[in-house]
């Protein structure tokens, strides 16, 4: 007779298999849980939904009168916001242009009515309604711009892009300019980087759209860096007279130069 083979009893074998099965499940489940968003997803989902809900509430209280239910627009009062994207909303609301004070040719910059958080909420709501260009977080834009500022050649490229695309409306010195029939391109002095970014991205009112396929984010950052550079660099030649160019220079020569010297002639010579 062969040595007796120890055989597990049937129930032990089944128990072991069961344990191995549970172990494998636990392993897979654990790995999955470790890598999957899990409960955070629920939280983020919830906070995003809360944001959208807040946005909807703000919208229904302030914007619906001109932009209509579900941002579909109201004839003669406000265009549809379907597809304008969160970037548009952030720009218009953070720059105070929206809500518009009255119906006029162009919405003008004024102190914002909503806080930046409320603006983000509105933006999120509008984004969910119809998609569109999305805003980049302020820190991201500012980081890109700061990066460009470290390299003068990059700033110079921004200047080149500015002159080809932007100076015709906003002026060489970023002071703005008139458009037809009461519209205008506003001054860029002191405008936050993310607002300039959003404006390029979305093309508000008469401004053409410069989406990312046309001006890459890097190029937009270069332009913003150039604009900021110009607006913060102190004039080396004295008081800039508003950087308006020959018009204020001509005014200055008469109001200062000729006036001073004419008064001097009155002092020097006779009067009768």
């Amino acid at each position: 007779m062969a040595a007796p083979t120890r055989r597990r009893s049937g129930w032990r074998r089944r128990l072991g298999a069961f344990a191995r099965f549970v172990g494998a499940l636990a392993l897979v489940g654990g790995v999955y849980t470790g890598f999957a968003p899990g409960i955070y997803a629920d939280e983020a989902d919830e906070s995003f939904q809360a944001l959208v809900a807040q946005g909807e509430e703000l919208y229904n209280n302030s914007c619906i009168s001109c932009h209509g239910v579900n941002a579909a627009g109201v004839d003669g009062r406000g265009p549809s916001l379907i597809g304008v994207g969160s970037a548009s909303v952030e720009f218009q609301v953070n720059s105070g242009r929206m809500p518009m004070a009255m119906q006029e040719t162009q919405a003008e910059r004024k102190p914002p009515v909503f806080t930046p958080e409320e603006a983000t909420a509105l933006a999120a709501y509008i984004q969910t309604l119809g998609g569109g260009p999305e805003a980049l977080p302020t820190e991201v834009v500012e980081a890109m711009v700061a990066d460009v500022m470290t390299d003068p050649y990059s700033v110079a490229e921004g200047g080149d892009l500015f002159r080809v695309n932007c100076s015709s409306c906003h002026g060489y010195a970023t002071g703005g300019g008139a458009l037809s029939s009461g519209a205008y391109a506003p001054s860029l002095a002191g405008v936050p980087a993310d607002q300039i970014y959003e404006a390029m991205l979305t093309g508000p009112q008469n401004m053409p759209v410069f989406a990312d396929n046309q001006l890459e984010p890097e190029e937009k950052a270069q332009i913003i860096a150039y604009v900021e550079y110009l607006n913060t660099d102190q004039n080396p030649g004295g008081w800039g007279l508003g950087r308006f160019g020959p018009s204020t220079e001509g005014l200055a020569i008469f109001l200062v130069g000729i006036s001073t010297l004419a008064i001097a002639t009155l002092w020097i010579a006779g009067k009768s």
Binding site: T105, P152, Y153, V155, A156, E157, G158, G159, D160, R163, V164, S167, S168, C169, G171, Y172, A173, G175, G176, G177, A178, L179, S180, S181, G182, Y184, A185, Y226, Y229, L230, N235, P236, G237, G238, W239, G240, L241, R243, F244, G245, P246, S247, E249, G250, A252, I253, F254, V256, G257, I258, L261, A262, A264, T265, L266, I268, A269, G270, K271, S272
Partner: protein
Amino acid sequence: MKRRKFDAAQLPGKVGGALDDRFKLASPTRKLMTKVFPDHWSFLLGEIALFSFIVLLLTGTFLALFFEPSMVEVHYEGSYLPLRGIEMSKAYESTLHISFDIRGGLVIRQMHHWGALLFVAAILVHMGRTFFSGAFRKPRETNWVIGGILFILAFFEGLLGYSIPDDGLSGTGLRIIHGITESIPLIGSWAAHALFGGEFPGEVIITRFYILHVLLVPGIMLALIAVHVGLVFSQKHSQWPGPGRTETNVVGYRMFPNYAAKQGGFFMLVFAVIALMGGLFQINPLWLFGPYEASVVSSGSQPDFYVMFLDGLVRLFPNWELSGFGFILPAVFWPAVVGMGVAFTVPLLYPFIERRFAKDRAHHNLLERPRDNPTRTAVGAMFASIWLITTVTGSNDIIADKFNISLNAMTWGGRIGIVVIPVLTFYITKRICLGLQQHDREVLAHGIETGIMRRDPDGRFYEIHQPLTDEVDEHGHPKVLEYNGWTVPKKMNRVGALKPGLRGFFKPIELPGDSTDQSSIEPSDSREEIEAGKK
């Protein structure tokens, strides 16, 4: 060896003697030094132009030592960071070099540009004085014409000067110059090609402009300025009517020391104003404009103020183009070429036009107060209003933007204004002149209003008038005086009835009891009869 005694006191005499032996300077020196010049503040306005021209020559020489008038393209590697690596012409690069990499370059550049603006502004003001006082009449018509030509040359000199740095703003202006030249009938395209050496912008325009700006035009201007001032010297300056002044004399003070000192001091003041403005007010910051590129432009683009009237005319003129048989007379020809032509030639011809209409062929050395020639004054005011409207229109886009006015409305406003306002200005100015003349004669007839009211027994209120003459007619009323072209006193302190106010800025210069010992000054024992007027 005998040592020669060196006597310093004798030196001027010896030098003078040596010069006179060779050049016969004694009489001319005396004549020059004692020449009499009239003294009025408005006669100094032309000096502003003369002195700023000298400053322009000085600062321009400095700039010429560093500027490169070449259109060859280079990559910028200078100090101004936002243009690093950008391709630009050498002209633009050297201007940036002067502004940022040459010690004091920017202040000299700014002084040069402010000096240029002051030069043209002073010419305009000086032309205004000469016009409104009638100084251009015979025998000074030639000097007026020379002055007008100097204005035209100054206009072009400035235009050339701000164009040679080849920056974005002036390059746009160059494009416009090309378009205007093209618009000339028959020869337009040939003239433009000749000027630019080919298609716009070509490779020679900056170099050509440069040599015109530093050599040809200043050379002609120097010569004309010499003739202009020389004529004033030889014909003697005109003067305002007044006591002792006639058509055949000049009343004033001597060239030396009085006039020369005032001129020298004023030169320093003009220079000081240019220096102060050149340092404290930034002008033409062309690093903000970038190099000239044909596809780049800025909103709010204007030429310098003295060219703005042309820009305004071009903006206002409607799009009336004539075409036929395969030929076109572009619309811009009328405001830019014809308008400029008229603006430059009609004022030059004015003395002859006025002579014809006023039928006045007499010799005039005494000036006319503006009110005494209402038509001329009104015509001048009318031209000034046209100039003002067109110059302001040249900035209409900046005004529209900053004052929230519709751009289209500004254009229409300008179009209507340029037709309506000059007519109104003419009429109103003429009426004002006539009114002032009337008041002069009223005061001469009735005396100065003293402001003292009296009531006679009948209860009637009347104001006491101070007569200007002792003479009375048969009725005991003061004689009516004739107007003699001279300022009529209208305040009591002008006729010595009241002392002038205490002089001094913070406190009176002389306090009572502080005056000099009067005993040595004898009152004159005879009083002269002051005669005035044109005799």
